[in-house]
Amino acid sequence: MEENKTYTAQDFKSDQYVRWCPGCGDHAIVNALQKAMAEVGVAPHKTAVISGIGCSSRLPYYMGTYGFHTIHGRGGAIASGVKMANPELTVWQVSGDGDCLAIGGNHFIHEVRRNIDINILLMNNKIYGLTKGQYSPTTDRGSVTKSSPYGTVEDPFIPAELVFGARGTFFARSLDVEMATTVEILAAAAAHKGAAVCEVLQNCVIFNHNIHSYVADKEVRADRTIHLRHGEKMIFGKENNRGIVLDGYMLKAVTIGEDGYTMDDVLVHDAKNPNNVLHQMLAMMDGHDLPLALGVIRDVDAPNYTDELTRQVEEVKGKKNFKSLREYILSGDTWEVK
């Protein structure tokens, strides 16, 4: 029985040579995805990986699953069709910040709103790589790129904020350099029934090198990021002595044992709380005054689209019980010519 079969990352690799630039963060991410899939244990032939266009969207070619490299921005709509047509499949969508949030922004917010059971891997390098270096919807204000030679004069999207605006039920974040965390959030996304968005901050060595180094560099990472785990205290720092507390309506990073703060003051992460206010505050922490949140920030049970669709079809079929189109037609207004 394949249900009892166990898989290794190797089972999810294709025979294709990986063509991303040497040093690109995508290499680590595809490895993490294959590891996560092995951990989840759904067979490669019951897994479909759908992408749009961009460097990250080449990923399906490197997977030993069913895959579809589609058109710019439309991965979400196509993945939705795959999942709706066959809810038995585990569907992954792979996208970048341009593909997902610019040209595909409409599909993205609607698949999240619909809460369709797709695992969405959003690789955010804050730049267009495949078209060679234009600013994306997540590029920081003022950034000089090929299409903004004097700096951008617009604010970026923060993907988490869009997800919460679209009433998302799952949001998690990782860094390309944190393989274990990436595997962890991807596996959690697969376990979540509904649209599960995993943002992985990824480095583009060619066009946006070190854009995430402020939080991702080894020397600073422990102090500028926090790994959230459901049911655990929000603690971070090299010494593991820093914590997140509530200060009025705001979050604050404190040192335990200083200024009168004790471990009791430190918040416990509740990813399952339907109310998203605290999740949003956590997701908006950016590594400056407050550490950037990694791990599963929100993971809430809610009705998901495909289960509801299947349920409704079965419910209506149960009531009417037509065996064929002809039987249905004959149940309506007809007359006989003899």
Partner: protein, 616 residues
């Protein structure tokens, strides 16, 4: 019927019901056509709605019409009406243009008061005289008053009573055309089954309307309409959009696949989405996506996942779906795209009909991107062509664009419910398990048809990656090799060309031994065939061919066309099919008869034009 009544025998007759949008004229018209069909008439109907959803009552923009053509040899809803029912002055003013010379007008005198005339922008207090209508043609009936009297004891409030006036008018028309009023009564009881008081009231006014005609207007001529010798079977009233939806369901049943529709609301195609959304009782998944692009893309996803997948739209939506259709061409996935054409460009005339999307369907994509293009010719034919489009898509792994139009989509006809074995089996070109050992690749093709084999996610061992990038013909890996690209372009074209081997040959209609060949495609069939039949009956020789298959063309198209001295291509655009044919069949002079007014042809204008062509 009293003895003094004069009875005229007619082969066919056209009745146009008109009134305020809220007057229920479509219900009256629908019942009239259904009971006519039930007694053996052929029927064809067409609704004419205002563009506004709820225009102010009694105004010119709020008029809605419903035209019914009944009798023998009925192929269209009729150019003009023999009888016009106008429930108010606005209806009379806007609809009188659709009345034949000498036709009968029935008006509700209760709604021709000063205020009503003012709302409809009359300048005098005599609407009949102002519009130059001969009073002898007019049957003036106090329909509202008579309805109130009829239902005085019904216990209904005045508003509900007045709402029944359309059915009084229907009763009167039933008398005029000697329709079985009891059948109309049954239909009303069925329609209002959940509201017995309303049902009872409607049946009463129906009978009172009928009796009123019988008693009061005994001196007016009534009509007997000839029955057609229609094929035995069970019939239902069917419009083009419902037929399209049902044809897809029938195809899904034949293919043994679930049916998926990804769509987005757009006039005049939305009723396909409505119908399929209701058919969850048959397991159909019809999904309203966030935009046109997502409609097409979700369908492509569903096709990839192994469903019979379709997307429905109209011209502007087809433009938005172009890139996605190109992906389906490249990925070689089965996809049915339905374009219910309307007046364009841009938003154009959403509620009006045209055939102006033909070249968009054929060529509106980047790259060498051939697809199969087919067109439905009548409301009932939408069923067949939706079925055939799905069959071709599934068996040839290609997008198929089905062109219908606003005229046949909303028009309806009596349709014999087919037995399931009347339609062929559908056999998608699936991979076979033994192919794995033979080194199967996703773009491996059947050497005869050039169709690639379909491996559906969930099948063990056949995991593969598709995509919009060009693939190597042998390995199916991404390839930018120039020679390989040429090979793949040719293979995709050959695959479409091969479909010609399976589509039906053209049949020459009218009189094949003529000098003039009339050529049409799609929704103009009824008007063209009416015109050609009428001319042949009068001894004027005209031949006709009508295309349901545009790309590829039926294999005998060229041979037939070259046989005729004069060939005139008639279409509701500026000559798109004519220019397409000219490219395919060089050296033939294609005359053109075009109309781009958002309206169908009239048979009369066609007869006039063809007569000129013959005599020239």
């Amino acid at each position: 019927m009293t003895e003094s009544t004069k009875v005229k025998v007619l082969e066919k007759v056209v009745v146009r019901f008109s009134g305020d949008s809220g007057d229920g004229m479509q219900l009256a018209g629908n019942i009239f056509s259904a009971i006519s069909a039930a007694i053996g008439n052929e029927i064809s109907t067409f609704p004419d709605y205002p563009a506004e959803i709820r225009a102010p009552q009694g105004t010119l923009s709020g008029v809605s019409g419903f035209q019914v053509h009944i009798g023998k040899g009925v192929y269209t809803p009729g150019d003009k009406a023999d009888v016009l029912v106008a429930m108010n002055p606005a209806a009379l003013k806007t609809q009188i243009q659709f009345l034949k010379k000498g036709g009968v007008v029935i008006i509700d005198t209760d709604s021709f008061k000063e205020a009503d005339l003012k709302k409809a922008l009359y300048e005098t207090d005599d609407a009949i005289a102002e519009l130059g209508i001969d009073p002898a043609q007019v049957m003036s009936v106090a329909i509202t008053t008579l309805t109130k009297e009829s239902l005085a004891d019904s216990g209904l409030d005045v508003k509900s009573i007045v709402r029944c006036k359309n059915i009084f008018a229907l009763g009167l028309v039933c008398w005029l055309f000697d329709r079985p009023v009891s059948q109309a009564g049954n239909m009303l009881s069925h329609k209002f089954a959940k509201k017995p008081t309303i049902a009872e009231a409607n049946v009463k006014v129906l009978n009172d309307g009928y009796n009123y005609g019988n008693n009061i207007h005994a001196s007016v001529s009534t009509y007997r309409v000839e029955s057609a010798s229609v094929r035995k079977g069970i019939y239902t009233d069917l419009n083009g959009n419902t037929a399209t939806a049902w044809g897809l369901i029938a195809a899904a049943e034949k293919a043994g696949l679930p049916l998926f529709l990804g769509s987005y609301p757009i006039t005049p195609a939305t009723d396909i989405l409505h119908e399929l959304a209701k058919r969850k009782d048959l397991g159909v998944k019809a999904v309203q996506m966030e935009d046109e692009i997502a409609g097409a893309c979700s369908a492509i996803g569903a096709a990839f996942a192994g469903n019979l997948a379709a997307t429905s739209t109209s011209g502007p939506g087809l433009a938005l779906k172009s890139e996605a259709i190109g992906l389906a061409v490249m990925a070689e996935l089965p996809l049915v795209v339905i374009d219910v054409q309307r007046g364009g460009p841009s938003t154009g005339l959403p509620t009006k009909t045209e055939q102006t999307d033909l070249l968009q369907a054929l060529y509106g994509r980047n790259g060498e991107s051939p697809v199969v293009v087919v067109a439905a010719s009548t409301p009932a034919n939408c069923y067949d062509m939706a079925f055939n489009a799905a069959k071709i898509a599934l068996e040839h792994m290609t997008p198929v664009i089905l062109l219908t139009d606003g005229f046949i989509a909303n028009g309806s006809t009596a349709w014999r419910v087919p037995e399931e074995d009347e339609y062929p089996e559908i056999r998608p070109n699936y991979v076979k398990p033994e192919m794995l050992a033979e080194g199967w690749k996703p773009y491996m093709r059947n050497p005869e048809t050039q169709v690639r084999y379909w491996a559906v996610p969930g099948m063990e061992g056949f995991m593969h990656r598709l995509g919009g990038l060009e693939k190597d013909a042998k390995t199916s890996a991404i390839s930018t090799d120039p020679a390989n690209h040429a090979v793949m372009v040719a293979a995709r074209q050959a695959k479409i060309d091969n479909v010609a081997k399976e589509i039906p040959q053209l049949e020459v209609l009218g009189n094949p031994d003529s000098d003039l060949l009339v050529v049409g495609w799609g929704g103009t069939y009824g008007h063209l065939y009416s015109a050609v039949t009428e001319m042949c009956n009068e001894g004027k020789d005209v031949a006709m061919i009508h295309f349901n298959y545009i790309n590829p063309l039926p294999s005998n198209a060229e041979e037939i066309i070259r046989r005729y001295k004069k060939v005139v291509v008639c279409e509701l655009n500026n000559g798109q099919f004519a220019s397409y044919l000219a490219g395919k069949i060089p050296g033939v002079e294609f005359l053109r008869y075009n109309k781009v007014e958002g309206q169908p042809f009239s048979s009369a204008e066609l007869v006039e034009h063809f007569t000129q062509l013959i005599e020239k």
